[in-house]
Symmetry: C2
Subunit: 210 residues, 2 copies
């Protein structure tokens, strides 16, 4: 089932249909493995239209990331803003705002998670895209976590943030393997993810900063 009401909902115009098909193709085979012709066929348009709208393969790739990252990050920041950083459950709520949106209906499901997982191993193109789309959000969440846990060093918080993202991305991207060992789908286990990450943050905050 595809998410309705949002980006993949009205695949009536060519532009959206191309983005949907491209997201699936890049998720399945990576940037190099996906072919423009296959994307065009899946979208039901001529191959030339991809170049007309997105200025080539790189542009199409960037557009796919941009659409999804925009939705996810807007939702993240919207959930982060009203949190009282002094409350006792602030850390848990912050982590829910960070980890929840990618798992939700706007997150694009496994397809986008796989693209993200591939990007963490990616080249200069991917690095630039990650920076452009996620640096601002990363700073906001690290700052919020630092306020909510003033006892933790900034290095500990930054480490926890990075490891949390790694946890999330890999768990989502290889969710079938996670299910193989743990027996439950990742999408339903946001609480497990948060518990794990919060525990890791606690441990880092308590550890001597060597």
């Amino acid at each position: 089932m595809r998410d309705s009401a949002h980006p993949s909902s009205a695949p009536t115009d060519g532009r959206s249909r191309i983005l949907d098909a491209a997201e699936a193709a890049f998720a399945a085979d990576g940037f190099s493995g996906a072919s423009m012709k296959a994307i065009a066929d899946a979208a039901g348009v001529a191959s030339g239209l991809l170049h007309y709208h997105f200025d080539g393969k790189e542009g199409l790739y960037a557009a796919v990331i941009d659409r999804r990252a925009g939705l996810i990050n807007a939702e993240r920041l919207a959930q982060l803003a009203p949190i009282d950083l002094g409350a006792p459950d602030a850390v848990r709520r912050i982590l829910a705002a960070l980890l929840g949106p990618p798992l939700g209906p706007m997150g694009g499901g496994r397809a986008y998670a796989r693209i993200l997982a591939g990007m963490t191993a990616g080249d200069a193109r991917d690095k630039a895209l990650v920076r452009a789309h996620y640096d601002e959000v990363a700073e906001a969440f690290i700052a919020a976590l630092s306020q909510a846990r003033p006892d933790a060093s900034r290095a500990a918080v930054a480490w926890a943030y990075n490891l949390a993202i790694g946890t999330l991305v890999t768990a989502l991207g290889s969710s079938d393997r996670a299910e193989q060992f743990a027996g439950q789908p990742v999408q339903d286990r946001l609480g497990t993810l948060i518990t794990y990450v919060e525990g890791g943050l606690d441990a880092l905050a308590a550890a001597p900063p060597d």
Copy 2:
């Protein structure tokens, strides 16, 4: 029986030089992005030799994973075996045996980590390779962790194991981004990784199994 002692150090025979070049190429561009001709050029051999030794691109890819996974897993199991699972620091030592070898001299550095990160987002080919090379080790470590933490449910341990692997792979594969925020190279921070993962495991063990 094929690789001589240390893979990256004595690239004298064509076979090893090809594996080294292929590892770097697959890490940089993924399976589809790497070209056989480019690998052959980098290794200083003719393109036909790749097919002679490895029976095509898929075989070469599998051989790259096989070489590295064999070294890493042998080292992991060697470090795991002598651990007294009843000792108070057993969990920490188990995690060191799990997370340390990929960071060490036999781990292949960032190149292999990137391949692994790409595999977690990969298709059927990657899934089969992961199963073939890492399932046995995964079971061994989950069993060891369960013995060392009999209070934790098996589901909690399995989750912690999977999230730990995700943590490791993403941290290594995108280590420059980790350094950007945390200010320290990942390779020198095995202790940080272990602390984080152990904290996550503690939290999962304590949480109610909903």
